[in-house]
């Protein structure tokens, strides 16, 4: 990572702790809101910071609803020719590339929980034996940059149906080996391009791109594409997410 990359990342992405991120967010929020308060709410005191934050969070929930309505189950993300694949593909996580988690393939098990009928854990060979599909799509980061990559794996919809997931439930939650977690809406989980992927650029997923398994969701921003998935949970209780709980918009659909 070069210096400007380092500078533009929140401390948490550099040092890899959720606590730093939360403290940092509080500090900057206070600073920024005093600018906002000055410009917009002259006369209100610091206590209005909380009120402003409340309004912003409810606007974000409103934007979740609007995006769910805008989402179409059969609108496909554009597929690109393999010649337009971005090389090297950027690494991104809430920690630095030197801290990438190494998952042992032999002991790896995918746990299933919540509203799923067959909750037996899956080993890697069992997952690799599932029907395969590929896509070359644009990954768009919440930071603004984008990159085109090729992912291969099994359609998530077929997997959910195979294990007897309640596809009328609201959310699918993911827990990851690097303590990351996120969740998506069921409509997106059932989208034909949502894949449980095991390969990147035709190679077994390298550690920095999420070995052994990454959910590829071309209809959502990058941080809604969890890597190193170790547990999947189908639920009607809002599961939130690592970044979502700090303020990134939950739906974050493209």
């Amino acid at each position: 990572m070069n210096k400007s990359d380092w500078l533009k990342r929140p401390l948490a992405e550099t040092f890899g702790t959720a606590t730093v991120a939360k403290v940092e967010r509080r500090l900057f929020l206070r600073k920024s809101l005093s600018l906002g308060a000055l410009a917009m709410l002259g006369g209100c005191d610091v206590s209005s910071d909380e009120a402003v934050e409340k309004v912003l969070w409810s606007m974000s929930r409103w934007n979740d609803d609007v995006q769910a309505k805008l989402f179409s189950g059969d609108k496909l993300a554009i597929q690109y020719p393999e010649s337009s694949i971005t090389n090297p593909f950027p690494f991104n996580a809430y920690y630095g590339e030197d801290e990438v988690r190494i998952v042992d393939p032999a002991s790896y098990k995918l746990e299933l929980g919540g509203l799923i009928r067959e909750r037996k854990p899956w080993t890697l060979p069992e997952l690799y034996a599932l029907p395969q599909a590929s896509q070359v799509t644009r990954h768009i980061c919440v930071e603004g940059w984008s990159a085109i990559g090729k992912w291969s794996g099994t359609p998530f919809r077929a997997f959910l149906e195979r294990v007897g997931a309640d596809t009328t439930a609201k959310y699918v939650g993911f827990k990851c080996a690097d303590d990351y977690f996120t969740s998506i809406d069921m409509a997106t989980a059932l989208h034909p391009q949502t894949l449980l992927t095991f390969r990147f650029a035709d190679q077994i997923l390298p550690a920095q791109y999420g070995f052994p398994m990454k959910l590829r969701v071309p209809t959502k921003l990058g941080f809604k594409n969890p890597k190193h998935i170790v547990a999947i949970d189908v639920t009607n209780t809002y599961p939130g997410g690592y970044w979502e709980d700090q303020g990134y918009n939950w739906f974050s659909g493209s």
């Binding site: 533009k8 600073k31 920024s32 410009a39 917009m40 606007m59 644009r138």
Partner: protein, 210 residues
């Protein structure tokens, strides 16, 4: 003899004054939070000074941006509907010719631009206000293209692709900020224009028929 009240003319209707100030606030929030969002993944080799940005961190800036976008868009729609239906836009911003714009800009640079009658915009003003409206419309559409490059992919394709829409969004922002800065300088140079955008009134110019 006429009463004192008759010496004043309403030149900016209430709708225009209210939407003007809501728009100013929305643009301020959109630009300041947008600069913080830009800083998370700069397109070019520079960052905006942190002190000039809003939101503190990327997540905060995104929350401001995606909240204020509703204010900007709904206020803008209301203003444009009012302006088109009432004839206000046509009356105040047209006609306009390139020759007149160049003439007025030249006069303005020589400090001779006529501002006697504030109820009539000169050609430089008309061009600037039309450009602001056009830039905001472009910002809204390129913004939608960035926000929804899958669901609204036909729109995104008009800008080339996602990356093209980002560049258009940035350039339209730069044009808008530039015109707004000139606008603020002009108000500072002709300060009696400021109260008219608050009260809507101006003193009737001598010799003008009412």
């Amino acid at each position: 003899m006429a009463k004192a009240a008759d010496e004043w003319l309403i030149i900016h209707p209430g709708v225009v004054r209210i939407t003007h100030w809501i728009n100013a606030l929305a643009i301020f929030v959109m630009v300041a939070s947008g600069w913080r969002i830009y800083n998370a993944a700069p397109i070019w080799n520079f960052l905006f000074p942190r002190e000039l940005t809003l939101g503190g961190w990327l997540g905060g800036a995104l929350q401001w941006h995606f909240a204020a976008m509703w204010v900007l868009a709904l206020n803008g729609l209301f203003y444009l509907s009012y302006g088109l239906l009432s004839g206000h836009l046509l009356r105040k911003l047209l006609p306009i010719t390139p020759a007149a714009i160049f003439r007025d800009i030249k006069e303005a640079l020589h400090g001779k631009l006529a501002h006697e009658d504030l109820s009539v915009y000169n050609a430089a003003q008309r061009a600037a206000y039309l450009a602001i409206i056009a830039a905001i419309i472009l910002l809204v559409f390129s913004g939608l293209a960035i926000w929804k490059p899958v669901q609204l992919q036909e729109l995104t394709l008009l800008f080339g692709d996602y990356e093209g829409a980002r560049i258009v969004h940035f350039v339209a922002m730069a044009v808008l900020v530039l015109i707004v800065l000139v606008h603020i300088v002009m108000v500072a140079l002709v300060p009696r224009t400021l109260p008219t955008m608050i009260t809507g009134r101006m003193r009737k110019p001598a010799g003008r028929m009412s």
